[in-house]
């Protein structure tokens, strides 16, 4: 049995094809999950991909959080199902209160499409176990609302408990608090990341293969479990 990783497609999801490709490249089986369907088709982990779910109307991720599939995903994630939210997926996880904080308009008020260096701060999560802490990788940032914010107490707690997953390491491209590019839940199973590791899996089409580690990590995490 290969590992089955669900990729949720909401109306307006865009990087679902990329997330599927990355999952397959890492050696797992991508399983499409439809926003309007109940049930998770027995997947071992889930990726919420980037895009503009529901057109980003109201607020990024605010409507997707109420999609039928989320009614099953939220309790499963709470019970330990590994979930990676990338970009819009990160926004959805915050809206669903599976992760703290919020993503707001970039400090520069413009969309930013750029390759960025990020430093992996926590190499213990289901999605980053393949990286050493302090490891710097190059991935792609492409977002208009990628500025991570949270109140001081939350930020302090995140720092103290090692829940800052990754930080921008080549300048802060969007004004995120404490250069935060991604965070994790206390269990290290639910992870949100603003830049896109799935766009860094092939030197032909992206900045090298640094991002593949996220998808390889979940395979080994599940194999060890």
């Amino acid at each position: 049995m290969t590992t089955r990783v669900g990729i949720v497609t909401f109306p307006g999801s865009l990087d679902d094809v990329d997330a599927s490709r990355a999952v397959a490249r890492a050696g797992a089986t991508p399983v499409p999950l439809w926003h309007g369907d109940r049930g998770l088709r027995g997947v071992d982990a889930v990726v919420l991909p980037g895009g503009f779910s529901y057109g980003d109307y109201l607020r990024c991720g605010a409507i997707a959080r109420f999609a039928p599939v989320m009614a099953d995903l939220i309790p499963a994630a709470t019970d330990g199902l590994p979930v990676l939210g990338i970009c819009n997926g990160f926004q959805i996880l915050c809206e669903a209160h599976l992760l703290p904080g919020a993503l707001t308009r970039n400090a520069g008020r413009r969309f930013v499409n750029r390759e960025v260096r990020i430093r992996i701060e926590n190499g213990q999560t289901s999605w980053t176990a393949g990286y050493q802490p302090g490891h710097e990788i190059t991935v792609v940032l492409k977002s208009g609302e990628g500025r991570y914010v949270a109140d001081q107490r939350t930020l302090d707690e995140l720092e103290a408990s090692g829940r800052v997953l990754a930080r921008y390491a080549s300048g802060n491209p969007n004004g995120s608090a404490r250069d935060i590019a991604g965070v994790t839940n206390p269990a290290g199973t639910v992870v949100g990341l603003m830049p896109h590791p799935e766009h860094a899996i092939d030197a032909l089409t992206g900045p090298g293969t640094d991002g593949l580690g996220f998808f390889a990590s979940i395979l080994s995490a599940l194999a060890d479990a």
Binding site: P11, G12, L14, D15, V17, D18, R21, G36, G50, G51, F52, Y54, G55, D56, Y57, R110, F111, V112, N113, R114, E115, T138, V140, K142, G144, H196, E198, H199, D202, L204, T205, G206, P207, G208
Partner: protein, 775 residues
């Protein structure tokens, strides 16, 4: 104002529409055809072909369908040359006249691509104007049965420091970013240029490319009487119907109560994304007989074109059209340019499946009529026939042979040669310092500057098949993940060259786009174009247009690449001031193996740099003359299309054989700017390569000409170690002059015996310009 039979009914209170029956009974009723843009002769000809006066709704249809924008009435007599002079090709699956040309790229794949203008709306409302420009061209591609896979934009604005440019440019870029990013289409390249001639008439030309399997090709022809006409996508609202508002107020006696209607449409990229996925699923399910996007002239255009192309008739019930504003009358419903709509022809038995797929994607779909065998387009509203016309009469439109006149100032422009300026620059004391200063001035100019301020706002990665994007010479996409079949696309235009000589200037634009594609390592295959000009009613503008089309048709024949389609944008002028004639040419190329593509930047130190082609002292219309001397005159560089073809053979051949590590075409600014770009771009684009890589070159006894001449047919290449002999052989075989000029390496661009500039200083010269202007 003319009172109609509807009496005093104001807008939104229309009780009795102008019907066919009424039109027959009231032949003398005055109609506002002039306000709608129809000439007296055109209006009379409508009456002649209908045998009665048109109804208000029919008048609306003819006024938009016979507009320059929809009918190409001034350009068609010239555009015929693209077919008449088409080079022999077996790769065209659909061509001019379809929504977009379709090109066979092998392995069962076809590519469809097209570039279209949204100039006027983008000046009025830059954000929505540009956004809906992207949306419109994407639907054109979708309507061919293809999945849209990338977009590009060719943009031109007024003087970079003009106050209005600060309004228009950020709005346009923001609109493209908003719409394209939200659609999930990578933006893989384009152009950005500035000239005061565009200050009241910015050019926003959007290109989309799509991919399909041969058998999935869809043509917009309504066949099969009894088949259903389905409108899908957004509900219809009062968008882009300024003309119809004139009609409503004039014919319904609205008096002072003219409804304020927005003339620029508002885009909803989310609905467009749903429409794309929904249509692709409909195609895959085999439930679409034909499909057409709704753009200019909305339902009027889609129904008449579908029926005309099918040689059938169509009967639609306008009351069935889902409305966002229930007060719309029949003419407004027909003319509305509400975005994110398509019209499909569906067999009755497939309707259920069709509706099921639309429901899955939350895309509203409504049957509004059916295909008939009557040869008439008939529309009813509230039980009355408001339209009854032969559809081809609307779809075809009149044809004009407008008068042409070579501009009075043309000889003066040609005589104003910049050679004396070049002679002065070439000699005299302080040459080395002046060369260095001029190069930095070109790099810091808006034309030479780093465009990252713009391109960073566009998603270039989504869908994961982007191999190269800006700042490389061409956008490069992987089409097949197993076989690595790939394509390259480039667009180019040069208003300065075209002003001096529209025939040669257009060929120079074609040659540059062709060369860009070849420099990426692809083999050029087909051409699209967006022809931006002033008023066709000005004989001097019309002469420029005729010359440009003739140049393009001759050029495509010489290069062996067919024109697959295009778009004409006239009336880009403010009062008597027309823009520079600006044909923007897009060239598509194909890679058998996209892993063999060539980067446009230096990748490794110690590699030999070769200059391919021949350099002559040619400065007419050059960037150097423009930036350093504000000069525009003389003859543009001489075009040699046979040489371009040989150069392309060498570049594509060398790429396939793996002889080169970089290739970059020479164009605006000449060799100096090209060398700087090669140093800064690196093998993988600026973000991936860090600080760039320098070079040392020897430019002989006339470094001024070597650095700044804009002779076409040239490229700069870096030859892989161990491949110099093989590459020299290849150049000799094709008769392409190849001159070794130096080596890559170091951290500065050094011209032996003249000057050097640290790579960091080159970067700084280019980087700040746009960011400082637009924040």
């Amino acid at each position: 104002m003319t009172a109609s039979a509807a009496g005093e009914a104001g807008h939104g209170l229309v009780t009795a529409p102008d019907t066919v029956a009424l039109a027959a009974r009231t032949p003398d009723r005055a109609q506002p055809h002039a306000e709608l843009g129809l000439t007296d002769a055109e209006y009379a000809s409508v009456g002649g072909l209908l045998g009665r006066r048109p109804t208000d709704s029919e008048l609306a249809i003819y006024s938009v369908m016979w507009s320059e924008h929809c009918s190409y009435k001034s350009s068609r007599v010239h555009l015929r040359q693209f077919a008449e002079k088409a080079p022999p090709t077996t790769s065209l699956l659909a061509g001019i006249g379809d929504n977009a040309g379709v090109v066979d790229i092998g392995q069962g794949y076809a590519v469809t691509f097209k570039i279209e203008s949204h100039n006027h709306p983008s000046y009025v409302e830059p954000f929505q104007g540009a956004a809906t420009g992207v949306g419109g061209i994407v639907r054109d591609i979708l309507a061919m049965g293809a999945r849209p896979v990338a977009v590009m934009d060719a943009l031109r604005f007024g003087a970079v420091d003009a106050p209005d440019t600060r309004r228009v440019l950020p709005g346009v870029v923001g609109g493209i970013s908003f719409y394209g990013n939200c659609l999930g289409l990578p933006n893989i390249g384009g152009e950005l240029a500035f000239d005061p001639c565009y200050s009241g008439n910015p050019l926003v030309n959007a290109l989309c490319v799509g991919v399909l399997r041969h058998q999935d090709l869809k043509l917009a022809a309504a066949r099969g009487p009894g088949n259903q006409v389905v409108l899908l996508g957004s509900p219809t609202g009062p968008d882009g119907i300024g003309g119809a508002s004139v009609l409503a107020s004039a014919s319904f006696g609205g008096g002072g109560e003219t409804a304020k209607r927005p003339n620029v449409q508002v885009g909803d990229p989310f609905m467009e994304k749903l429409l794309i996925e929904c249509c692709l699923e409909l195609y895959a399910a085999g439930v679409v007989v034909a499909i057409q996007d709704l753009g200019a002239a909305g339902i009027a255009c889609a129904t008449s074109e579908l029926a005309a192309a099918g040689g059938t008739g169509m009967a639609v019930t306008l009351d069935l059209v889902p409305l966002r504003d229930p007060s719309l009358g029949p003419a407004e419903i027909l003319m509305s340019e509400s975005q994110e709509r398509m019209m499909a022809i569906v067999e009755p038995g497939a309707l259920e499946k069709f509706a099921e797929i639309c429901a899955r994607w939350d895309v509203p779909a409504t049957v509004i009529g059916e295909v008939t065998g009557t040869g008439r387009l008939i529309a009813t509203w509230r039980g009355e026939v408001v339209v009854d016309i032969p559809p081809e009469s609307a779809a075809e439109g009149p044809l004009y042979q407008r008068p042409l006149r070579r501009p009075a100032g043309q000889d003066g422009r040609l005589a104003d040669d910049p050679a004396p300026l070049a002679d002065a620059a070439r000699s005299g004391p302080g040459l080395a310092d002046r060369l260095r200063a001029d190069l930095l001035a070109l790099l810091g100019s808006p034309a030479g500057a780093d465009k990252a301020w713009v391109t960073e706002q566009y998603d270039s990665y989504v869908r994961g098949n982007t191999v190269q994007a800006t700042p490389h010479d061409a956008g490069v996409l992987r089409i097949d993940e197993e076989t690595f079949l790939g394509i390259a696309l480039a667009t180019d235009g040069n208003g300065r060259f075209c002003l001096l000589d529209p025939y040669a200037g257009t060929q120079l634009a074609l040659a540059e786009a062709y060369r860009n594609v070849a420099a990426s390592g692809a083999r050029p295959l087909a051409v699209t174009n967006c022809l931006n000009f002033g008023s066709p009613e000005d004989p001097e503008v019309m002469w420029q247009f005729a010359e440009a089309v003739r140049g393009l048709a001759d050029g495509c024949l010489a290069l062996g690449v067919p024109v697959t389609g295009g778009n004409v944008s006239f009336y880009n002028q403010t009062q008597d001031e027309a823009i520079q004639p600006t044909p923007v040419i897009g060239v598509l190329g194909v890679f058998a193996d996209v892993r063999r593509r060539l980067a446009s930047g230096f990748g490794a130190p110690g590699e030999q740099i070769m200059l391919l082609g021949t350099t002559a002292p040619e400065f007419g219309g050059s960037l150097w003359a423009s930036v350093v001397h504000c000069h525009l005159g003389g003859r543009p560089p001489a075009v040699d299309l046979a040489a371009e073809r040989r150069l392309a053979e060498v570049l594509a051949g060398a790429a396939e054989a793996g002889l080169l590590s970089a290739a970059h075409d020479l164009s605006d600014g000449g060799l100096g700017v090209a060398l700087a770009e090669c140093c800064l771009t690196g093998a993988d684009g600026p973000a991936r390569s860090g600080d760039g890589i320098g070079c040392t070159v020897d430019l002989g006894t006339d470094p001024f000409t070597a650095l700044f001449s804009e002779s076409p047919g040239r490229a700069l290449v870096a030859v892989r170690d161990g491949q110099r002999e093989a590459f020299a052989r290849l150049c000799a075989e094709h008769g392409v002059p190849a001159q070794p000029i130096g080596f890559t390496g170091g951290d500065e661009l050094a011209v032996a015996g003249a000057f050097s500039v640290p790579v960091g200083e080159l970067a700084a010269a280019r980087r700040g310009t746009l960011g400082e202007l637009f924040g």
